[in-house]
Each structure stands twice: as structure tokens, then as C-alpha cells.
Symmetry: C2
Subunit: 445 residues, 2 copies
């Protein structure tokens, strides 16, 4: 009876649209009986649930009616159309088509590597295990089970001893930046790395805080500039700065801590990308040097999936008390369901297994990439993180680098594109973010 293309996502929505279209065009007549859910599911090679959801939406909008024990029948829509016009006239937006063969800008973990079956199993497990407790209000700082799981993970992965109490669950990095502004006060001046990840400065600005761009050298954020500045908070990503790739040596971290100790100052350690140190052991974090002065944070968006906006911050005890004062009457922003599933993923060891699979994948991509770039440019690679810097000393300027790449179907940006404030010394360097790139794509360019 039906012959629809349901290969895309939102299968049930597509099926619903297709059947609705047939009804509106009069190809299925009023009074006609639709195939049973099971029969249609078999015919189309989709799950019964998909058909059921589509039928339910058609039912809710009055296109079909259900008669007990007989099935689903098409309604007379000429009588109905007066009501139907509203919800039906809005079109499903079509995403723009990208013309690049390879994208070194956006980049997100390949979905194929995500242990979807495990995750789905954990979700079903959480549903069965927690039952109606999933409906309960989550304390403002997050579910204690996830807080504990993260504390245990931080001990295993980063060697940090953290009382789970001080772990705050948030909805990804941007949300946590906002929380930090609310916590420290927007009268603070936030020193940010320049060049840097644009979201950091734009989110601080959006939250009404003042920012102060500080240049990034080989040893990370320039401490001479910080010390001379009126900044009261410094936001750093010491394990692998984006986009320069700078790794902050231990001595620089101590010096920054001394700066923080000398006043009412804080260091925000954005441990971005630290999971992806592909060569050697992860570096000690600044947090362990001085937990009273360092706000540690990280997210799972890069390591799990971009749709899971989940992250956490570890607060110094004093700030934790202030957090409770401000937010005690609010529920945590991340659904309990997601928190329980992630806790099970961490506690069951699945997260670390997934990470090591991801790292293997990226080692392969990185190896091929370095090979391909060998005679083309000077590569600056610190072995950390999911991007490298490719210097093209002979290029005229950054525009030329990008245009030449685009001509070969390669999308990329240069260091200068990540400048928050004008600065020199960052020219002729492409930023090769390979987190969303596969070996196959690389072989084809």
C-alpha cells in the first residue's frame, strides 16, 4: 500500500507526514482502513513503535480515527480541514547542505563510535531500577550518585581527590560559564586566552561580565600580562589550549596559583580535551595544586555526544557554600534520567572503555593526518587534544591558506580567526581540528 522513503532520521515523523500527505491529496479516501501497525511496520521495515507513534499523531490531529478491534480509519477531512489548517501549514525546516569534503572547523565525535547499544541498555536499566524516583526533584548541585561517580572518575583519570559534595552538575560548558559568573559576581574581570575558544568570552559577555583578552604564548596564557592586569579571575585551558595547542608547564601553573592566592582571585581550569592526550600520560591539573583557588571544570559533550549537554565543575568549599545559598531552592538543570544513565556509564566502566576506543580511532586519524601534512607545512603537535597547528610560512596570508584549502574541498580556519582582540604573532597558521574527521575522508583528499 505504502512506498515511502524512511531512511532519514525522525522516522515516525516522516511516516506521519507521508500518510498525512496521501490523505490530503485524496489518495487514501475517507473511511478507508489503514493497514495494521504490525503489517505496515513489516512492509516498511521499521519498528511497530514507529508506526504507532505516526498513527498516534494522525489520531491526535484528527486525520484518522480508531475503532476498537477494527483498526484505524481515515476521517473525512473536508469537514475537518477548518481545524487542521493551523498545525499543518508549517514546514519542517531542511538543514543546509555542506559542500565541503572535509571539515576541520566544526568537528564532533563520530556517532558511529558511541556505544549506543550500551547506552540504550543503561537507559532501560535506569528506567527499571529507579522507576518513579526518576520524577523526583534533583538537588540544585545534581544527583549525588552522579557526583560520586564523577569524583571516582576524576580520581582514576586525573588523580584528583575530590569530595563528591563539591561537584556541581551542569548542562554543558556554556551553562557552567554562566553559573560561574553568577557565583563570582559580574563585577569581576575575567582574563581569557587570546586567541581562544570564542564561546568562552562571548558567554561571559552575554552574562554581563567584563573580559580581558590576554595573549597566549608557548607556555599558555602570558603570566606577565595577567600579573600587570586588573583581572580578578583567569580562565585557562592548561592541558591543551584551543586553538594554539599550548600546554602550560607546571611552573607556570604554580605561578598562576600564587597570583590567585595574593588576592580575592580565582583560576578557572577548563580541562577541555584533557581526555584526549594521545601520547604519554595526562598532565597534573592546576586544581590539585590549590583546590581553594581553582574552579575545575569539564564536559562530556566532546567525549560522549554533542546532544548530551552535560558537564561539571568542582568548586572550592567556600564557593560551594555560596552556590548553595544562591541556588538551594532551584532544581538542578539536567534531567535526573540523564544523570543516572551517565552515573551508570561511569561506574560500569563503559565511559572509559568508550574513551579508549575513541583514542584509538583518533590515533589512527592523527597518524594519517601527520603523514599527509608532512611535506606541506610545519606541524606543531603537542600530542594532546584533537587539533594541531599547521604553519604555512610561504603563504601570502591567512586568506590564501583558507582559499587554497577550500578549493580542495577542505574547510578550515586559521589561528587569527580565533582572536578575540587584535594581536600579532598568530599569522599563517591553520587550525586542524580533526575531531569530526575519519580516516576515509582523509584518504579521499
Amino acid at each position: 500500500m505504502f512506498n515511502f522513503d524512511l531512511s532519514g532520521k525522525n522516522k515516525y515523523y516522516n511516516l506521519y507526514c507521508a500518510i498525512r500527505g496521501e490523505i490530503l491529496k485524496g489518495r487514501i479516501k475517507p473511511g478507508e482502513r489503514l493497514p495494521s501497525k504490525r503489517a505496515l511496520a513489516e512492509e516498511l521495515g521499521v519498528s511497530v513503535v514507529t508506526v504507532q507513534l505516526a498513527y498516534e499523531q494522525l489520531l491526535a490531529e484528527g486525520y484518522i480515527s480508531s475503532r476498537e478491534r477494527s483498526g484505524y480509519f481515515v476521517e473525512d477531512i473536508t469537514a475537518y480541514s477548518a481545524h487542521a489548517t493551523q498545525p499543518s501549514t508549517f514546514a519542517y525546516p531542511t538543514p543546509p547542505v555542506e559542500s565541503f569534503k572535509i571539515d576541520f572547523v566544526k568537528g564532533s565525535t563520530p556517532a558511529s563510535l558511541f556505544p549506543f547499544a550500551t547506552w540504550a541498555r543503561l537507559i532501560r536499566g535506569v528506567l527499571a531500577d529507579c522507576g518513579e524516583h526518576l520524577l523526583e526533584r534533583v538537588p540544585c548541585d545534581g544527583d549525588f550518585e552522579l557526583k560520586s561517580a564523577i569524583s571516582a572518575y576524576l580520581y582514576r583519570a586525573r588523580g584528583i581527590i575530590v569530595d563528591p559534595k563539591y561537584v556541581i552538575i551542569g548542562a554543558g560548558a556554556e551553562h557552567l560559564y554562566g553559573v560561574i559568573v553568577q557565583l563570582l559576581g559580574r563585577e569581576n574581570i575575567f582574563a581569557v586566552e587570546n586567541p581562544g575558544y570564542g564561546k568562552i568570552s562571548s558567554t561571559y559577555l552575554l552574562n554581563g561580565a567584563k573580559i580581558l583578552p590576554i595573549s597566549v604564548k608557548e607556555a599558555g596564557i602570558c603570566l606577565n600580562e595577567v600579573e600587570k592586569s586588573p583581572a580578578t579571575v583567569v580562565h585557562i585551558s592548561p592541558s591543551h589550549q584551543f586553538p594554539t595547542g599550548a600546554v602550560m608547564p607546571a611552573s607556570a601553573r604554580s605561578r598562576l596559583i600564587s597570583w590567585a592566592r595574593a588576592g580575592n582571585r580565582y583560576v578557572i581550569e577548563d580541562d577541555y580535551d584533557s581526555e584526549f592526550r594521545l601520547v604519554g600520560k595526562p598532565l597534573q591539573c592546576a586544581f590539585s595544586l590549590c583546590p581553594e583557588k581553582v574552579i575545575y571544570m569539564n564536559t562530556f559533550s566532546k567525549s560522549l555526544a554533542p546532544s548530551m549537554r552535560m558537564g561539571y565543575t568542582v568548586l572550592p568549599p567556600k564557593l560551594y557554600e555560596k552556590y548553595l545559598q544562591i541556588f538551594e531552592s532551584s532544581a538542578n538543570i539536567v534531567p535526573l534520567f540523564e544523570q543516572k544513565a551517565l552515573a551508570a556509564m561511569l561506574n560500569g566502566g563503559y565511559f572509559e572503555r568508550h574513551l579508549s576506543r575513541l583514542k584509538n580511532h583518533y590515533r589512527g586519524v592523527r597518524g594519517l593526518l601527520l603523514e599527509k601534512l608532512q611535506n606541506v607545512c610545519n606541524v606543531k603537535d603537542t600530542g594532546s587534544g584533537l587539533h594541531i597547528i599547521a604553519e604555512f610560512p610561504k603563504a601570502e596570508n591567512d586568506e590564501e591558506i583558507k582559499q587554497k584549502a577550500a578549493a580542495e574541498g577542505i574547510k578550515l580556519k586559521c589561528l587569527s580567526d580565533y582572536l578575540i582582540a587584535p594581536a600579532s604573532g598568530y599569522e599563517k597558521c591553520a587550525v586542524i581540528n580533526y575531531s569530526g574527521v575519519t580516516r576515509e575522508q582523509l584518504l579521499n583528499v
Copy 2:
């Protein structure tokens, strides 16, 4: 072998703690074999998943090891304890015990009325239907399917025609208040209702905006005060103001719209509680009078469950364009999973079925409550929402009302407790929020 109390929530966590305790106390010896997952699940009357999750956590922390085809064995923890000390020493926090028999302050929908089985089925359905697409990045304004489902729901329930495009999905009311500040700019002065829901003003302040408390009369926010004030944005809950219960008549809504039209001004219509008009039809909303000047918003926290921090706002087209400009590069904050499940719940008609069940429940509670209060106080009840005002003209003061109630095991607040700024005319009135109260509780006081 085991005899644990697993009646509380977090069954698997409790089981994990219990077994770990036995191991640490030496009651289960190194090398000893644990019962099979299935056997222990049967013995304790829990699901196999629960036991599996507990075993997995013990495995991850090294308390037990697994040998293929033989089962789980207790490790020698004397060798291990050096590593184990860190994550084991932190205690699970115990929630404070409430001593009141009845709570007219907090109040959240009774979990027993939530269609948990349906919701669990929809979640399993979404897992099967969407598969790995659930991992994809969600556009900044939310999943289009949920946006459409909300648009269709608003048409059915509130008679508003809304292009799904302009619906923005957010993580509950507080998150959306913050987004609105970022959208309109914190240089605005937000007029808020006084007395009012404290979270509204505190969230605006926390986001760096200025607020201006305006008194609430019988016809809602006092328009004379608004018109004389320097406010540029007015935040109202016209269907059923909290806590006064005021309902804003159509004429007042039009007058407020005229005020907004006369300048670069906006009205935020917080359609809080509009689902719970228990007598008569819901009132027309201000949004439909002037979609260019009204930011409509509502949440599902009250109607579904407090753990689901999900809400939405409908933006005027101009503000929608600005929203895209600011947030285009950000992913939506609510997990796609929850968005798909809610869309299925709305499209399948389950949400409205749940609402009508809730309303029946609340009609029963309300009836009994009005009966009980008949000879005790003057009741002001507009038939809307889940709270009523009980006036005690003979009481000495508000403190006496609360103390007398507390003596009978009743927790309540007075109108004056919800004042954001000092104001008179709100004395001797108790706020009876019955959203978390059952008939059984009422019969026992």
C-alpha cells in the same frame, strides 16, 4: 546470603553500598564467590539490572573481579585499600526529615498520578525509533518535532496560532528568565508583580537585570504604577497570579499591550498554572492580542514532574531573529531524548489525558479543602490554579496564623511572605498551595 533493606530509592546504589560494607567488614572473605546476578535478584526481589549495576560498580572500584563463566569473586582488599580509601570515605547525604503533616508551601504534583508506565514506554519507543540520531546536536531553539508538538498543543489548549519556528525550548522557567534577560539586554528595567513568585525577581537579579516591584490588585498588576514607572519590560502571570490569585481581565491586558506598543517595550506572559483552571474555560492569553509585543512562556514542571526541567517560550519574530544571532552556534540545553519523549507524549494525546486526570484529582482536593475552610476563614478562590487565599480577619497578625497552623502540623506561608518589596494591604491572608496535598492528608487534619 544477603539480607538488605532495599526499599528506598537508588536501589542499586544501596545494594552496592551494602555489599561493599560486608566486604570491608570482612564478613565476605577474599576469594569468596558472590551469588549469580539472577539468584541474588530473586532473593532480594529486585530486577537483575539492579544487581548488575551494583556488581559493575563494585567491579569498577576493584572490590570484586569477574572470571569468565565462573562469576564474581571478592578481591583481597588489604592489598587494594590504599587505592580504595579515596572514593569510599564520602558519605551519601541523608535528606532532612520534615515534621509537618501537611505542606501548603512547597507542593509538587503527586508522582503517583504521573503516567510513569506510558512515559517509560515512550522512552523505549524513542530509543527504538530515533536510534543514533539521538546523539545529534540539537539546534539552539530546540528539536523541531517538539516545537511543532507544542505549537499544535497551544492551538488545542489555548487557541493560539503559533508558527513552531518561534517556539524556543528551554530547561524550565528559571533558565528561560535568564535567556530573556540575555535577549532583551540587562539594561532593561523589569517590572515584576509584588507580592510574587520570588524566583522571578531573584533570577532577574542574578542575571544582572534591574527589577521594579509593582503592587498587585484584584485585576492583577497595577497598571497606573506601570505606566508611571521607568519599566521597559513587564512580567505578568495573568491567568492566575501567584500568590494573590488575581486574574487579569481582558481590558487590563489590552491596556498593558497599548503601553508596550507605545515604546520599545515588552510584556512577558508567564502562563503559569493556566492548565489548572478547574472551573470554566481557560482565559484568552495576552499573547494572542499582540504577538509582536508579548513573550509567551510556560513550563512542564508543574504539569509533568519537577525533575523534568522543561519549558518553552514563544518569541515575537524580531526577537526570534535576535535569538538566532546570539545562540546560533550553541546547542539547545535540553537533551534531545527528553525532547523527543515529550513530543511523543504531546502528539499521542497522553499529556492532555494526564492533565485531565490531574485536574480531576485537584477538583477533589479543592472541594474537600473549601469544605474544611468554610467556617474557619474567608476564602478567595477564583477557580484557577492550584492555590487559594484564606483570609483570617480576626487573627492578630501573620505570625499568629502560621504558628497556629504549625501547631496543628500544617506548614503554610502568608501573602506578606511573598512580598519582594515592603507593601501594605496584604495582611492576614494565608496562601494555601494544595498542589502537593492529597485528600487523605486533608482528612487527617
